[in-house]
């Protein structure tokens, strides 16, 4: 005790602090929890869920990367594909973890495939595991795989150096910018599934032979499990409407003249509600600034106006066709319902109102096309 009395105030204080800290760390069992070296982990780069059997409704496929000693020398794209059927996704993952032997790391999983068979099931239930897990990034891409996720995951294009990277390049803005690809993030799905007034859209990745795939069509889905397929042109229009793609190519082949194609550089689109109680209407207006990309014959600059008009008619017709198709099937990927709700202050009845109005809405589209040039040649 004399020792304790002889300490200077500072040292005594430090002693007390050290004791408290030691006690804290001891009683909380701290330190070294969860230490797993990086080479002891399997990185899951992509995951797919397919429809299974009656007893085991989910078939989970994981694409794991096998680390290479030196990434630059051998250009090999080593991966491991593991698959399991189970009653729940979590159960399948747990089983596969035991099978693989190493820890799974989902932190780099950037793409999630849902098999075509499951696209008609309620998406909230299918994606629940992904929403809940903390290590699955909110910015992972979601897509439908055709025919099955397993098939698609098996693909490894030659130019791909990291497993599943090709898909990432397709979906992300680092790779291509195609109007036929709808990049949907996981949180985007979550939002649109919950939000009344918007329905999510996901791209369909189709596996072709010989390690190739194609992304053309897409599905509009809603939370009760309905789905509607949009073909390539419709998908393109969807992207144009939401101004999501930077460059869109429009092909006009309407039989009124020679077919031609143009690239839209700048698209501005907006719509307006015309809420006449007898004849509710939605009017779409916009400007498309485009360049001629391909034509079958010479195009004189004076004749640009003809092409513009043809393009306008084409795009407006197609747009209205798409909108009517969506309306008839009861889907709303553009968010008309949400906007209606946003414009109205009465919370309880606005959604019911909209549900009654929507089937009766008439659409009109007044998109203008401006062709700014004929390319580098006339």
């Amino acid at each position: 005790m004399r020792f304790l009395r002889g300490l200077s105030p500072k040292t005594a204080e430090n002693l007390v602090k050290a004791l408290i800290v030691a006690a804290l760390l001891f009683f909380s069992d701290a330190g070294f929890n969860g230490y797993t070296d990086i080479e002891q982990r399997f990185f899951v780069l992509a995951m797919g869920i397919d429809k299974g059997t009656e007893e085991e409704p989910y078939e989970v496929t994981l694409k794991l990367s096998v680390p290479q000693p030196s990434l630059s020398s051998n250009n090999e794209n080593e991966y491991l594909l593991l698959s399991k059927r189970s009653r729940s996704i979590a159960g399948a993952v747990a089983f596969l973890k035991a099978k693989a032997g190493k820890e799974f790391d989902f932190g780099h999983m950037r793409i999630i495939f849902i098999g075509d068979g499951l696209a008609g099931e309620p998406w909230l239930k299918t994606l629940d595991w992904f929403f809940r897990r903390r290590d699955v990034q909110n910015v992972a891409y979601v897509a439908v795989a055709r025919p099955t996720a397993k098939e698609v995951l098996r693909l490894h294009p030659d130019y791909e150096r990291i497993p599943a990277n090709a898909f990432l390049l397709s979906f992300g803005s680092e790779g291509t910018e195609s109007p036929y690809i709808v990049s949907t993030y996981l949180f985007d799905m979550h939002r649109n599934l919950f939000e009344r007034g918007v329905d999510p859209v996901v791209s369909i990745v189709e596996a072709l032979g010989r390690n190739q795939y194609e992304i053309r069509d897409s599905y509009v889905v809603n939370e009760s499990g309905g789905k509607l397929e949009l073909n390539a042109v419709e998908t393109g229009l969807f992207n144009i409407f939401l101004m999501r793609s930077e460059r869109s190519t429009l092909v006009v082949d309407d039989g009124l003249g020679m077919p031609f194609a143009m690239t839209a550089d700048e698209i501005h689109l907006d719509y307006r509600f015309d809420m006449n109680p007898n004849r509710p209407a939605i009017v779409i207006r916009g400007d498309v600034y485009a360049q001629m990309e391909e034509a079958s014959e010479r195009v004189e600059p004076q004749r640009l106006a003809d092409f513009e008009r043809r393009a306008e008619r084409h795009i407006n017709e197609k747009m209205i066709q798409l909108l009517v198709k969506l309306q008839r099937n009861g889907f709303d990927p553009f968010g008309f319902g949400l906007r209606y709700r946003a414009a109205h202050m009465d919370q309880e009845s606005e959604w019911e109102e909209w549900r009654m109005i929507y089937p009766n809405v008439s659409f009109s589209s007044r998109i203008r096309v401006r062709l700014s040039g004929t390319g580098t040649i006339k």
Partner: protein
């Protein structure tokens, strides 16, 4: 002589009184009366600034020389190194600069007797600057005082001479600017020096620890420098400079954290260049402290922080390594420490060969043998290099030791340990005092009146003075 000014007696006396008053804190100020029979003369000069041997030869001896005696006044007036002070203030400055004032009873003369410093002053070895003064302190206190006086022609520069060490009786000089320095701080430092009870005190580093600012703490509270220009700058900022016999280094107290990261280069280069270099230095410290720790924290706990390509590359690199990441880091850094420590003591002949062997070949060979991953080599090299970007040695050592603490925190507790470790470090630095001044404080100056330590706050014992 042109412009000879005949100064009246009362004014002369007044001048001398004022000067004596001004210089009373400088123990190297000399005010001598020369008497010979009925003749009187008075000499005033600063011993370390003026070449007192010349003064003796040229002014004192002739006074006692029978041949010149009666004509001493004429003799004085005839000396070629005579200057005219414009007024009292000018006279004081000249005295501080190294002039000598001679009062022959009839006239006041001032002579230039400046000490020639430039010969046998050694070059700065430890703190070098690309473009700027290249000189360093020497081992003699007087010479160092002269060096400082030569750069700082301020009559307000006070000099206190003391000794430390009951047996070695080493000479110590305290310099500070009367107008700028905080008298409480000066008194405190003097008090602490006087209370040192060691028999032998040899080096300035030892002195700095004996001054009592937490010898067990990693962080240095006193700056050690060999550059007179840095000392001068600090004097003008109100700090106290302590010189000691036998060591060509000076102590500067009190200090703040930012002093340890400033190089004299910052003043000698253009604004943006010096700012860039300053940012570079802080960045280097950050890298040095956190890189090994974050490597372990990220690869062992959270590899999703990296991009996929990087994560896979590291995983591939580490494939062959038989032991866990933190051990790898620790062993490599230890090897680097051994190398650095050994390179201090290597004989010059072997020096460069050893560095090449250790650095390049061993590193390369170790990677090829699969003992360490190549990314580890990069990390260790980066850490070692950024360590030496820190201009002041003591802080550089502190960082070298501190990074192991962060490494331990990150290994045991992952990202949280790293972040909290950094917070703890910052908190500790903020709570530290250097001789009564807060050590870590951004944007200072607007709350001088706020009491930061227990002493000043008036004895509230319930606060701890510093954290440890």
């Amino acid at each position: 002589m042109e412009g000879e000014v005949t100064v009246e007696t009362s004014v002369q006396a007044e001048w001398k009184r004022a000067i004596a008053e001004r210089f009373k804190d400088s123990e190297d100020f000399v005010y001598k009366q020369l008497k010979r029979g009925g003749e009187r003369a008075e000499i005033l000069f600063v011993r370390t600034a003026a070449d007192w041997q010349s003064v003796y030869e040229k002014l004192v001896l002739p006074f006692y020389d029978r041949n010149i005696a009666e004509h001493y006044e004429d003799y004085a007036a005839s000396l070629p190194n005579r200057v005219q002070p414009k007024n009292l203030g000018d006279a004081m400055e000249k005295l501080a600069e190294g002039h000598v004032m001679l009062d022959t009873g009839r006239d006041i003369h001032m002579f230039v007797f400046r000490n020639q410093p430039q010969k046998d002053i050694r070059e700065a070895a430890v703190e070098t600057v690309i473009q700027g003064p290249l000189l360093a302190f020497s081992a003699e206190v007087d010479k160092n005082i002269m060096l400082l006086r030569q750069r700082c022609y301020q009559p307000s520069l006070a000099v206190d001479l003391m000794t430390v060490g009951s047996r070695s009786k080493t000479h110590v000089a305290l310099l500070y600017d009367l107008e700028k320095a905080d008298p409480a701080t000066v008194a405190e430092i003097k008090r602490r020096i006087r209370e040192i009870r060691m028999p032998v005190v040899q080096a300035v580093g030892q002195l700095s620890m004996l001054l009592g600012e937490s010898p067990r703490s990693l962080i240095p509270r006193v700056l050690v420098t060999e550059r007179p220009d840095r000392a001068t700058l600090n004097l003008s900022q109100g700090k106290v400079v302590v010189l000691m016999e036998g060591t060509p280094f000076a102590l500067i107290a009190p200090t703040t954290l930012f002093d340890f990261f400033s190089s004299m280069e910052d003043i000698y280069q253009h604004y943006f260049i010096s700012r860039f270099l300053l940012i570079l230095r802080y960045f280097a410290v950050f890298i040095c402290l956190t890189l090994p720790a974050s490597y372990v924290a990220i690869t062992a706990y959270n590899p999703e922080v990296f991009r996929v390509e990087l994560a896979l590359s590291i995983a591939g690199n580490r494939f062959a390594v038989p032991y866990p990441a933190f051990l790898e880091v620790f062993v490599m850094m230890l090897a680097m420490e051994l190398l650095l420590e050994a390179s201090i003591r290597l004989p010059k002949a072997i020096g460069s060969a050893a560095t090449t062997v250790g650095g390049l070949i061993l590193g390369q060979a170790a990677t090829e043998a699969g003992l360490v991953s190549s990314i580890m080599i990069i990390i260790v090299a980066t850490v070692a290099i950024s360590n030496f970007v820190i201009p002041i040695n003591s802080m550089s050592f502190a960082v070298r030791v501190a990074k192991y603490g962060l490494l331990a925190g990150a290994t045991l507790f992952s990202l949280l340990g790293l972040a909290l470790g950094i917070a703890l470090m910052i908190g500790y630095l903020a709570s530290v005092d250097s001789f009564g001044q807060p050590f870590l404080k951004l944007f200072e100056n607007d709350d001088r009146h706020v009491k930061t330590t227990q002493h000043q706050a008036g004895g509230d014992v319930r606060h701890s003075e510093e954290v440890s």
